[in-house]
């Protein structure tokens, strides 16, 4: 058979590559190259754990397929005079791997439902939370219980800016400021087209769809800045529709809210003053 050496060399190289890949992948995976952001909030951490479980099941399956494939290509390459046995099937084997494939996806389904509640249900705020958000047990599919205190921020997407409405009338754009150790629930809306809220370190993304309300949450235990951007094509400025969440100490948060309110009030007063001046000029 001409060219016998080439397929053998290629097969050996590929087999080695497959083995190396299977050995190296776990190491790389933990370095966040092959896994989602392992953020500082419980829902992002749980998604990351679930991802790793499914990822390693997948690697095991695909590793088996690759090893069998490359072994077959190497071991059963054409040789002069050899006749391949004319096998047309093997019913027990076929039923076996159908059952195995079904069992694997069934197992992934079960694991997913085990993790689901931890991802969708907000945890209670910690002891150092801002006062207005303690004892908060709302799930994202339900309104907060009566008397429950929620730090609920209204997030509105519009071309090409995120707007945040805090309790007590404070408002900010692009940068959201939240207190540490406090469960924050987000109520998402869209003013024009569909946008998608995504801060990778703070959990999965959620679409803001006009006419709908969507809810998600996070709770960050350490201060810091987390960046993200709109993940649903929303027009020519889509690439620039970024968002930033700054987590600060609870007392800093209170001071920031007061400052925002003060600045908004000052701006309003200024506008009213200007309007009066203009009206006075017009009436003359």
């Amino acid at each position: 058979m001409r060219g016998r050496a080439k397929p053998r060399a290629a097969a050996v190289v590929l087999l080695l590559a497959a083995v190396v890949a299977v050995l190296v992948l776990p190491g790389v995976a933990w370095a966040d190259v092959l896994t989602p952001e392992d953020g500082p909030t419980p829902n992002a951490q749980k998604v990351d754990e679930l991802y790793k479980i499914v990822f390693f099941i997948g690697i095991a399956v695909i590793g088996t397929v690759w090893v069998v494939l490359f072994y077959s290509l190497f071991r059963f390459r054409a040789r002069r005079g050899r006749q391949a046995p004319q096998i047309t099937g093997n019913t027990p084997l076929e039923i076996g791997w159908t059952a195995a494939a079904t069992a694997i996806v069934a197992a992934i389904t079960i694991v997913t439902y085990i993790y689901l509640d931890d991802i969708t249900h907000p945890v209670p705020s910690g002891p150092e939370a801002v006062a207005e958000a303690r004892d908060q047990y709302a799930t994202i599919n339900q309104p907060p219980p009566p008397g429950g205190k929620a730090l609920d921020i209204q997030v509105s997407g519009q071309q090409f800016l995120w707007r945040y409405q805090y309790p007590n009338q404070a408002v900010s754009f692009h940068e959201m400021v939240v207190p540490r150790d406090t469960t924050v629930t987000l109520t998402l809306k869209a003013n024009d087209v569909i946008h998608s809220w995504w801060i990778p370190a703070l959990g999965g993304k959620l679409d803001a769809v006009p006419g709908y309300t969507n809810k998600t949450w996070f709770k960050v235990s350490k201060t810091g800045t987390y960046e993200g951007q709109c993940a649903e094509l929303c027009g020519s400025g889509h690439y620039a529709m970024t968002a930033k969440v700054t987590v600060v100490e609870p007392d800093q948060y209170q001071a920031w809210v007061e400052n925002q309110k003060k600045e908004i009030q000052e701006a309003r007063t200024l506008v009213q003053k200007q309007r009066k001046t203009i009206e006075a000029e017009l009436s003359q």
Partner: protein, 578 residues
């Protein structure tokens, strides 16, 4: 005693074959007005190859833009137009019609028919495809669609994109959709009614199976999509409110309707490539396909399940958790028949006598790479994981692993496998292998880093990113895309060089199993002088065995007349190149 087709007996045949006429050189008018399924098939292949190169150039422009951070090579609007054109072109004008191209050329030959059921309808399908292409690319002189190939409402409404680009996109897809549906009706009619005597559904080649299922899916999905597009057109031009939440409509309705087409569309694109691989692997492993019935059944099962999984594209939208769970489980269910196909290909290779010719390399490339695309698909079906991964470069990498690593590699396998039949000449093995390795290296270098880019927070459809952790992934990806393009160009060069001075192929250069190899290469206009009776899944093996037996009988001095098999070898049989 083997059975003999009545039509095969000399003297009783009602068919008159005229030979010995001087060949007239065909003009381009002959080509664009032909009703010969083989010529229409070749027209389809050249048309889709042209659009493939156009879509590829669009992809390279985008990769140049993303090759460095904060790049200003393309402005954001142009970038949005490019990925809209790239997606629309590759999906509707390359991958779907290229399967129709192979199907047109091969289905009548593989089932022993003389043409498609409706030859003129067949020509109309190709013309509608060309018209759709003209409308879409004509729009670059006015205004180009820029809402992505998914054109989500309300961004695609007249309020936000008032130009004519989206309207041109709608009309183009209408034309291409009608083309695909007419072609599909033609395939269904042909396959159900025009098979050679003895070819039951259980003896039909797997490629024909996939084209049959592909056609049914097209009729279901693209008919519904025609209605969806009409609704968007009504919204844009006639003050409709289907997708306007302010007037009782619903933007999510577009997504449901779009993905009801969009997900079956994925299998419309993938199944014919599976069919090609299922033809190529048994021939080069010199073994029958492993588990034929399971292979045919799993094609039908994938198609059936594929119309029940659409909302897994919408996991981040406001849907109840129960709905998310339902669509996760149906999506997992698709993985089972897909897994069966992969295992059966491995079963076919196992204990084979594998010849490393170019078609086999590409077919095996599909198996290896589609396995990874399928695995990341299962990961995406887990909806809490999908909340992190959807609409990022992870999705981009996944779908290219399925559609390029899967479908495009399958198409390349089909091209190298059937080109000798289409042209009568063998493509160069050396250039083919060079093309294969460039494509494998380039493809993986392009798309593997994109998984990591997506996991690190890079959304899809952004024209710009800032320097930082995303830079390395994108630089590798851009370099890979040019290696991939080089691999494609080597095959383009190979095709043109072979058309001019390739080695003659003969009717059956691969010692293959199916009926298309029974005729000369390229086949005459009437396909077969005599249509053989089919006695098994691999009719060419039977025919070769009959010929051997007859030759042995002749050599033994016995007179071969008196009711022996009358199936004749096609004229001009070449010695086996192996």
């Amino acid at each position: 005693m083997t059975t003999v087709a009545p039509a095969a007996k000399p003297g009783t045949s009602s068919e008159i074959i005229v030979g010995g006429l001087p060949e007239r050189r065909s003009t381009w008018i002959d080509w664009v007005t032909t009703t010969d399924h083989k010529r229409i098939g070749i027209l389809y292949l050249f048309t889709t190859a042209f659009f493939f190169l156009v879509g590829g150039v669009e992809a390279l422009l985008m990769r140049i833009q993303l090759g460095s951070p904060d790049n200003t090579f393309l402005d954001p609007t142009t970038y949005n137009q490019l990925f809209t054109l790239h997606g629309t072109t590759m999906i509707f004008m390359v991958i779907v019609p290229i399967a129709a191209g192979f199907g047109n050329f091969l289905v009548p030959l593989m089932i022993g028919a003389r043409d498609m059921a409706f030859p003129r309808l067949n020509m109309l399908s190709w013309w509608l495809l060309v018209c759709g292409g003209v409308v879409l690319y004509g729009s670059i002189f006015w205004d180009v669609a820029q809402a992505g190939w998914t054109s989500y409402a309300p961004l695609s409404s007249a309020d936000f994109l008032p130009g004519s680009g989206i309207d041109a996109w709608i009309i183009a897809l209408h034309l291409i959709g009608i083309s695909s549906v007419l072609g599909a009706i033609n395939f269904v009619t042909t396959i159900h009614n025009m098979r050679a005597p003895g070819m039951s559904l259980g003896r039909m080649p797997l490629f024909v199976w996939t084209i049959l299922v592909y056609s049914y899916l097209i009729i279901i999905a693209l008919s519904s999509f025609a209605a969806t597009l009409a609704m968007l057109l009504v919204d844009r031009q006639f003050s409709g409110t289907f997708f306007d939440q302010n007037q009782g409509g619903d933007p999510l309705l577009w997504q449901h309707l779009f993905w009801f087409m969009g997900h079956p569309e994925v299998y419309i694109m993938v199944l014919p490539a599976f069919g090609i691989v299922s033809e190529v692997i048994p021939v080069f492993a010199r073994k029958p396909i492993f588990g034929y019935k399971a292979m045919a059944t799993s094609v039908a099962a994938i198609a059936f399940l594929s119309v029940m999984v659409w909302a897994h594209h919408m996991f981040a939208t406001p849907l109840p958790t129960g709905v998310l769970g339902f669509f996760m489980i149906t999506s997992f269910a698709v993985a089972v028949p897909t897994g069966i196909k992969i295992f059966n290909w491995l079963g076919t290779l196992w204990r084979g006598n594998i010849e490393f010719r170019v078609p086999l390399l590409f077919a095996v490339g599909l198996v290896a790479q589609f396995a990874l695309g399928g695995m990341t698909g299962v990961m995406l079906a887990v909806f809490p994981i999908d909340w992190q991964l959807t609409d990022t470069y992870f999705i981009v990498a996944h779908m290219h692993h399925v559609l390029f690593g899967g479908t495009a590699f399958g198409i390349m396998a089909g091209l190298y496998y059937w080109f000798p039949k289409m042209s009568g000449r063998m493509l160069s093995e050396g250039l083919g292998k060079l093309s294969f390795w460039l494509m494998v290296i380039g493809f993986n270098a392009t798309f593997l880093p994109q998984y990591s880019a997506g996991l690190s927070g890079m959304p899809r459809r952004i024209s710009e990113y800032h320097s930082g952790h995303l830079t390395e992934y994108n630089v590798i990806s851009t370099i890979g895309s040019f290696i991939l393009a080089a691999g494609v160009l080597v095959t383009v060069y190979n095709v043109f060089m072979t058309l001019r001075k390739g080695r003659p192929a003969g009717p059956d250069p691969w010692r293959a199993n199916t009926l298309e190899w029974f005729t000369p290469s390229p086949p005459p206009e009437h396909n077969f002088d005599v249509i053989p009776t089919v006695r098994s899944l691999e009719p060419m093996k039977d025919i070769r065995r009959d010929v051997q037996e007859r030759e042995a009988a002749l050599a033994a001095g016995a007179n071969g007349n008196g009711g022996g098999p009358k199936i004749t070898e096609p004229p001009g049989k070449q010695p086996d190149p192996l």
